[in-house]
């Protein structure tokens, strides 16, 4: 064992401590949503009592008390601010989190395990907003999200379209020649298929890109690397072996921002969903309304509903306050079933 090996371990522990502190602050912010007041003396006493009598020999009583005074003060300070919480699917460092930061850097991001949890969290008021990916230029639509969108009462209040650049990450000091397996979300693995094959690497699907990065940093499996973004590399102290490993450089993902309420500003883009009767020309009839009103459609997607039944998504340029749009939507509603305006919002496009 050499000094630099020990220091390397210390660096890893420090990055974990900081990550845990962040997790703790997050839980504090969530707790506030269930409390009437920020300060709860009984709860604080309870915490201090446990901390003082912790069984870790080197974390002495005085030290742990001092430390927790600082932690609790900071937690209360954060709770006192009117922070906007946005839920995203994945671990910290996920592309969805990068999207939130690019949309508005002041939003606080909270990780969820599933897309459903994001929708539920916004519905229950635990989060102010939720962010979900809807489509990727290489991977196509994100099926589970589109299904959830069909059945939600949440509103789309914003969208962001951003480039996604994958990196091959490894635990610092790994011999790159020993790497055999690469963990990542199946979409990311698919987007780097040619890179993996020319380097004889075996793709191993994982539930999430940043989750794979976190697992790699914690468990350090032999001969393994992962595909994730630069943010994940920074958060989990991983070395970037190679940047931009996606097979096509024009790799973009579009995300939607969801909320219970309406957006504060007038939007320039709308999303609707509907189903049509099984009769010749019904879908055409709806599309024709938009064509004759001169409204530009930007996305059309069909999602299988019940067997033989399809729901349609339609995105178009325009505001729902525009009389031309209002008139077209009224007519469309008459010709369709389950018609719903999912939102009228502005879309942010991040260039490379």
């Amino acid at each position: 064992m050499k000094l630099d090996e020990i220091r390397h371990r210390i660096d890893l522990i420090d990055s974990k401590i900081l990550k845990l502190l962040n997790d703790r602050m997050e839980q504090g912010l969530l707790a506030k949503r269930f409390k009437d007041q920020i300060v709860d003396p009984r709860r604080e006493e309870e915490i201090m009592e446990k901390v003082k009598h912790n069984p870790n020999a080197l974390v002495e009583k005085d030290f742990s008390e001092d430390l927790y005074k600082i932690i609790l003060t900071q937690s209360k300070k954060l709770q006192g601010r009117e922070l906007i919480i946005t839920g995203f699917q994945g671990e910290h460092g996920a592309y969805s989190e990068e999207a939130v930061r690019l949309y508005n850097k002041d939003y606080v991001t909270l990780p969820c395990v599933t897309f459903n949890e994001v929708f539920e969290g916004v519905n229950s008021g635990m989060y102010d907003y939720g962010i979900v990916p809807v489509e990727n230029t290489l991977g196509g639509i994100v099926g589970p999200v589109n299904e959830l969108l069909l059945n939600t009462d949440l509103q789309i209040i914003g969208a962001i379209d951003m480039p996604v650049h994958h990196c091959l990450l490894m635990v610092p000091g790994t011999d790159h020649r020993e790497i055999r397996e690469v963990y990542s979300h199946s979409q990311a693995l698919a987007q780097c298929r040619r890179f993996l094959s020319r380097n004889n690497l075996t793709p191993v699907p994982y539930f999430d890109t940043a989750g794979a990065a976190m697992m790699l940093a914690e468990k350090q499996p032999r001969g393994a690397a992962c595909i994730a973004g630069k943010l994940a590399a920074k958060l989990y102290n991983l070395e970037v072996l190679k940047e931009n490993i996606e097979d096509l450089s024009k790799n973009r993902t579009r995300f939607l921002l969801l909320s219970k309420g309406l957006p504060a500003e007038e939007g320039s883009k709308c999303t609707i969903t509907f189903t049509t009767e099984h009769k010749a020309g019904t879908l055409f009839g709806v599309l024709e309304l938009f064509a004759s009103s001169g409204i530009n459609l930007t996305r059309i997607e069909s999602i299988p509903n019940e067997p033989g039944d399809y729901s349609f998504f339609l995105d178009f340029d325009g505001s729902f306050k525009d009389p031309n749009v209002i008139k077209t939507l009224e007519q469309a509603e008459k010709q369709t079933a389950g018609f719903k305006l999912l939102g009228c919002y502005n879309e942010k496009v991040i260039e490379d």
Partner: protein
């Protein structure tokens, strides 16, 4: 020569041209400049900028160094490759770098534009096969104890695996002469031009090991009909971790380039396209 099916020039006298970025090897005279080893990001990037400013068309630098002693600087490895890729992004110069381990071939391909097989590995057949299966051109240096025939057989190995883009590089051989580091065998250039369609380059830095001889041998290489040069340039040769005695500084490189361009113009005269033929075939 027997068994040289793929490297032989054949009757049509065709010539292989290799396009790397905006540079075509086998068309005009291509100069590759750069340090012996990638020592740091600053040294590499500053040298790459100097090579570009001096008129160099490609950049060289070793990330994996085959060294005589195991205690000498072995190169920065993967970190060195990342630095080279950064130098390319900043200057636009394609990268030539050596690969010494078959397990590194695919990774070096990810970062570099031309794979170099060093003199010490010329007959490392498993390495030759591996680069023969790679998508990048290969610069094959002549082994220090190798005959022309052995050298061409090594090129044949690479072509036989499916990679048609091989550049031969004369870098001197061991003789009884000790004044120079190696004896730069410029007679190989016209000989190879007769025998093979592959482009031929010359490394006068290793070929002589002496700074004062580099310029004259570079010019002689052009006169002998070489397609290009591989010359060592360091931003500060006195501080180089390897080959400190044979690397040019940026000013010397610039002067060399001026002379090269002048001689190149002179050699462009169609008069030099013909040569004396005949004599007894071997």
């Amino acid at each position: 020569m027997q068994n040289l099916k793929l490297v032989s020039s054949g009757k049509q006298g065709r010539r292989t041209k290799i396009k790397v970025g905006s540079v075509v090897i086998g068309e005009g005279f291509v100069v590759v400049g750069g340090p012996c080893g990638v020592e740091s990001e600053e040294q590499t990037i500053r040298t790459a900028e100097a090579v570009k400013a001096g008129g160099g068309m490609m950049f060289r630098g070793g990330a994996f160094k085959p060294r005589t002693s195991p205690y000498d600087f072995q190169g920065l490895g993967l970190e060195g490759l990342k630095i080279l890729a950064k130098a390319r992004d900043l200057t636009g110069l394609p990268i030539v770098t050596e690969v010494i381990d078959p397990r590194d071939v695919s990774w070096v391909c990810e970062f570099a534009d031309i794979l170099q097989i060093g003199a010490r590995n010329m007959q490392n057949f498993s390495l030759l096969k591996e680069v023969g299966r790679s998508p990048k051109p290969v610069l094959l240096k002549r082994g220090m104890y190798s005959t022309l025939k052995e050298w061409l057989n090594c090129a044949e190995y690479i072509l036989a695996e499916g990679n048609p883009n091989v550049i031969l590089c004369e870098r001197g051989i061991r003789t009884f002469e000790t004044y120079t580091r190696n004896t730069l065998d410029l007679s190989m250039i016209p000989a190879l031009k007769e025998l093979t369609h592959l482009p031929v380059m010359v490394d006068p830095s290793h070929g002589t090991g002496k700074l004062s001889l580099v310029e004259k041998m570079s010019l002689a290489a052009i006169a002998a009909g070489a397609d290009g040069l591989l010359v060592e340039v360091h931003i500060n040769p006195c501080e180089a971790k390897s080959d400190a005695d044979q690397q040019l500084n940026p000013e010397q490189f610039k002067q060399l380039m001026q002379k090269i361009r002048k001689l190149e113009q002179f050699m462009a005269d169609p008069l030099f396209n013909t040569s004396i033929t005949g004599g007894k075939e071997q």
